[in-house]
């Protein structure tokens, strides 16, 4: 069972250079989170603060009730045994071959026999597809292989919290896809809390339960992935689409003059570097490989998110509702009806006795709208910010035929 990591008001600077200020977020136990952010915004520094390698000036990182920023060194070493960390460059021990690197944590912290160690290590090496290279030194393998070996080492003790600093950098798209699958499968199996730092939009779109972004020394947002994926925030939109137009420049800040010039170029027909299609929008989340148990975290998250759904931005609500299975959708409506019925007993026009009409009005008020009847095949949100929302569903009962997309990737038996 994973462990919750609570970060409260964390600030870090090196000398006069502030890296980020007042970062507050919670990695819910057992869920997968992704942290995005332009290069140099301090994502790696953030990870190092999470494991107590760097001391932030302010704030707390609480794990199992212990504040990593202020606890004594001895407790720190104990807490760190919960972690598996993949560093940005793999951080393999240069004097040991891959096998010994992966075996290192086992030999240090367990009393397993050499044969057991061998079995475990070889299975992990196999898992990251590095069989045959276990005898090589880190200097003798490619960057992507170092990454994968580093991941094998991070996972060898079945950690409860896994931090991955850009697991995909230096890897080809296929291996990245395998790696994403690997992390999700792992999450399904051992229910570890996972935080991935990445620049890879595909990973950000398909892997996490929660998504956050660092920019300009701040956490722009952190929450259910649908919130960021449907955000209208210019930074987020620019980042997800990989465009030059927007607040992110080559250096951290971008001045007005440059922005205006870039806009002029764009208007003149020069590409801004992005593809035509909008990369925002909620896409289906990666599922564990068939045969594995369903992710318990997905269920827990669904419950958590549904409870706060009405507080989320509207476009995020669309995305979340559209991704629910039919049963879940019905159940949610049921729940909303009950709770709002209790919480707001005297809303306008709600005192009617005809329950059927009451339900309908309620729903069309409370529930965010779904895409117009039979409209889009996916949950892409329209690219030019839609001023007028799509019409509300006339009847919630109609929702099944309007379901924006069948969900062949999900086996329904796993749902609650």
């Amino acid at each position: 069972m994973g462990v919750e990591v609570a970060v409260e008001g964390l600030s870090k600077s090196f000398g006069k250079q502030a890296i980020w200020r007042d970062v507050t977020l919670t990695l819910p136990s057992g869920e997968v989170s992704v942290l995005l952010g332009p290069s140099g915004t301090g994502k790696s520094v953030f990870l190092k603060c999470l494991i107590g390698l760097l001391k932030p000036e302010k704030g707390r990182v609480v794990i199992n009730g212990v504040d990593l920023c202020s606890c004594p060194e001895r407790d720190l070493y104990e807490i760190r045994k919960l972690f598996g960390v993949l560093f940005q460059d793999g951080a393999l021990f240069g004097s040991m071959n891959i096998f010994d690197n992966v075996a290192f944590p086992l030999r240090e912290h367990t009393r397993k026999s050499e044969k057991e160690v061998r079995d475990i290590v070889m299975s992990k090496i196999d898992m990251v597809g590095m069989l045959g290279a276990e005898g090589k030194l880190p200097g003798e393998i490619s960057g992507g292989m170092r990454k994968r070996a580093g991941l094998a080492r991070a996972l060898v003790l079945d950690p409860q919290i896994i931090l991955c600093d850009e697991p995909d950098s230096g890897l080809d798209p296929v291996r990245t896809a395998y790696l994403s699958q690997l992390l999700i499968d792992l999450n399904a199996q051992i229910d570890a809390t996972i935080l991935i730092v990445t620049h890879n939009i595909n990973v950000a779109r398909t892997v996490p339960d929660n998504l956050g972004m660092l920019f300009r020394k701040e956490l722009v947002m952190f929450g259910p992935r649908e919130v960021l994926l449907t955000s209208e925030e210019p930074v987020v939109e620019q980042f997800l689409n990989g465009r030059r137009i927007g607040p992110i420049g080559m250096s951290e800040e971008k001045d007005q003059a440059q922005m205006a010039q870039e806009q002029a170029h764009l208007d003149a027909g020069h590409s801004d570097g992005s593809l035509e299609e909008d990369m925002r929008g909620v896409v289906p989340q990666l599922e564990p490989t068939p045969g594995l148990p369903p992710r318990d975290a997905a269920r827990r998250r669904r419950q958590r998110v549904m409870q706060i759904l009405h507080t989320l931005p509207e476009s995020a609500q669309h995305g979340i509702l559209a991704s629910l299975s039919r049963d879940d959708y019905d159940r949610y409506q049921e729940w909303r009806r009950r709770t709002t019925g209790m919480a707001m007993p005297s809303g306008p026009g709600t005192t009617g006795t005809a329950t059927a009409t009451r339900e309908q009005t309620r729903v069309s008020q409370e529930l965010p709208t779904r895409p117009a009847a039979g409209a889009q095949p996916t949950q892409q949100i329209p690219r030019p910010v839609a001023q007028s929302r799509p019409p509300a569903p006339q009847q919630p009962q109609q929702s099944p035929p309007m379901r924006p997309r069948p969900r062949p990737w999900r086996r329904e038996e796993g749902d609650q």
Binding site: R80, K81, F83, F87, L92, G94, F104
Partner: protein, 271 residues
């Protein structure tokens, strides 16, 4: 040292900052020294690492130490030889030079070599591990780099210093004997008998103790600097440079203190 002074741009402003910075460094080294001493007694002892490091430091230090020891012993003997001849005490030349070699020259030569050859290698090794994030990775895997890496290195430096000290003493005394008897025409009997008249066993012990302490300092400073490089590979070069310089400075300071204390506490033979 040169890198430090060259970075100093304004002559006045950073003096106070430098002073506090130096004090902080000193405090950090001291804290690490305590840490190392505590962790020395923590099991499991990293025997393999210790043996490797011991072998490594010994192999890079033996030749230079021996080569430095002979001329060093010779110079001291020659110097003292002419001095004792001037004041008509040439019969005591042997004892004087042996005492000088055993108490002062040998521990210092040993540690200069251990710090210069072994310490710089330790520092560079730990420095490059640090910038490759290996040390971070080790801490994250719940393994203390002090216990795992620094303690074996410091112990190895101490052990090598103690043994080398013995070797350098022997070589230095032999060199002195050779120059005194062969070059300056002294009598072998006078050389040997004077040394039992003036020297005592505690002189050998204090020499060895010094070597062990210096070895500790050399290993400690090298490890400390190695674990705290500033910036990338360039930083590693800088800290190697600094570690050798700092060790040398510490060495002569500590040597002064130990010598004063020893001369106060242990009465000289025949005095």
């Amino acid at each position: 040292m040169s890198t430090r002074t060259s970075r100093k741009t304004s002559p006045l402003a950073p003096v106070a900052a430098k002073a506090t910075g130096a004090m902080r460094e000193f405090g950090n080294i001291f804290a690490m020294a305590l840490d190392v001493i505590v962790q020395m007694f923590k099991r499991p002892f990293q025997a393999k690492e210790f043996i490797q490091q011991f072998w490594f430091i010994a192999s890079v230090s033996i030749m230079p130490a021996a080569l430095v020891a002979i001329p060093f012993g010779a110079v001291i003997t020659l110097q003292l030889g002419s001095l004792t001849a001037q004041i008509g005490a040439d019969s005591f030349n042997g004892a004087a030079s042996v005492l000088a070699v055993i108490q002062q020259a040998s521990p210092i030569v040993t540690t200069l070599v251990v710090a210069g050859a072994g310490g710089s290698a330790i520092c560079a090794d730990l420095g490059s591990r640090t910038i490759r994030e290996e040390i971070d990775a080790m801490m994250v895997l719940g393994v203390s780099p002090i216990q795992r890496l620094v303690v074996p290195r410091v112990l190895a430096a101490m052990g090598v210093a103690a043994l080398l000290n013995g070797m350098v003493s022997v070589v230095g005394v032999c060199g002195g004997y050779f120059f005194n008897v062969v070059v300056q025409g002294g009598t072998p009997g006078a050389f040997l008998s004077s040394f039992s008249a003036l020297a005592q066993l505690s002189d050998l012990w204090v020499g060895t103790l010094k070597a062990v302490i210096f070895g500790f300092l050399a290993g400690l400073v090298a490890s400390y600097r190695g674990l705290n490089p500033k910036g990338g590979p360039k930083g590693v070069g800088d800290v190697v440079n600094q570690s050798v310089v700092i060790t040398f400075l510490l060495l002569f300071l500590v040597n002064l203190v130990i010598s004063v204390v020893y001369l106060q506490l242990v009465p000289a033979k025949g005095a």
